[in-house]
Symmetry: C2
Amino acid sequence: MRCVSCEGRYDGDDAGTCKQCHEDHKAKVAFLMTTHPSSFSDISLSASDDEEAAGPVPAHKAVLVSRSSVLRAMLENEMEESLSGIIKIRDVSYRTLRAFVNYLYTAEVCLDEQLACDLLVMAEIYQVQHLKNYCQKFLVSNLNLDNSLSTYTFAHQHNAKPIIDAALTLIIDNMDKLTAQEEYAELKEKDPQLVFEIYEAYLSKQVNKAAAQKGSSASYPSEYAEEC
Amino acid sequence: MRCVSCEGRYDGDDAGTCKQCHEDHKAKVAFLMTTHPSSFSDISLSASDDEEAAGPVPAHKAVLVSRSSVLRAMLENEMEESLSGIIKIRDVSYRTLRAFVNYLYTAEVCLDEQLACDLLVMAEIYQVQHLKNYCQKFLVSNLNLDNSLSTYTFAHQHNAKPIIDAALTLIIDNMDKLTAQEEYAELKEKDPQLVFEIYEAYLSKQVNKAAAQKGSSASYPSEYAEEC
């Protein structure tokens, strides 16, 4: 069958939901999306570059605590943020903060590579796993030879296992091209451990390949070998 | 393919989403569900039988206005409810009100026939179409000979087209049994228009059936007719 969401073809174990149930699910998502800060806001979030931008982003404590365990702890324990009515978010641009808050209300965001990285960092800090997964998927689908080393490094810094795995596979499949890159030279200087990890994965692949080749030639049908 | 939600079998045009996209959708729904009145409540809803029960149901204006256009109008226009902080819900039990508010936060409710009817009425009054659809589906799936006339009458009172259609089909397929019921005698007294509608639908079915039989006998193969 053909998936109406991702348009891939699926059969047997990969087949999921019929059209009607899919429509029901979509309607449920639409129903549950909360119109973002329309009115009755009881908290604001302010970004580092607040003064240049449109001021703090209004929000509702009830929604924030429901989506993020970190924000829940901040707001329910009457810390400074809860009392002042403003949560100051450091080292985050207005654009990222706005997208982050909007995601908490709608589970939707239009990503580019920079925004995906920035939101993944925020999602990790505020423990919003759903957003972290979303950013990870985007970054995996945007992997290419040019960004593989930098994405790999970034993923390691933020404990993003799916990205690490995907980037490593791409890297060890293209070792010759990547070792010629400037990023490779920089990485050797900045984080030799990561380079060792790459070489170890590459080595392991080579060994497995050699073993597989040996295995397949060992199991070569003997009668056919004689014929040859 | 087999639907993992409703377990029906679907092919071609009815096939919907692959397993992965279905899992993604489920995660999105779980993410968007708001933990119901945990804290930071800024409004309450009180039921008719409030004194006997657990007091008013706490809620958040931001969620209510996002789910119901009627509640939005009440709360955004600073009507009495907004100023007093209490929305009085007339002719509704505490159990129904609690389920209604909970549905606004989670899009989930465990229905029985009575609760489905009560919530359908609330959903119509407060313009929560998603809940109305949910109750309609439940009531259609619970139709049987015993409740078909009463459900049909109820559906007419609340403009529930899918229930009207399903009940009418069941009724005209079992006219002989249903006209013997006490509810039928009562309906003739209380709402003759509905009884006319039933007879007109029954008549129309009979006419179509006769036309179809005539059509099929008219196209009877002539050579075979001669043989006979």
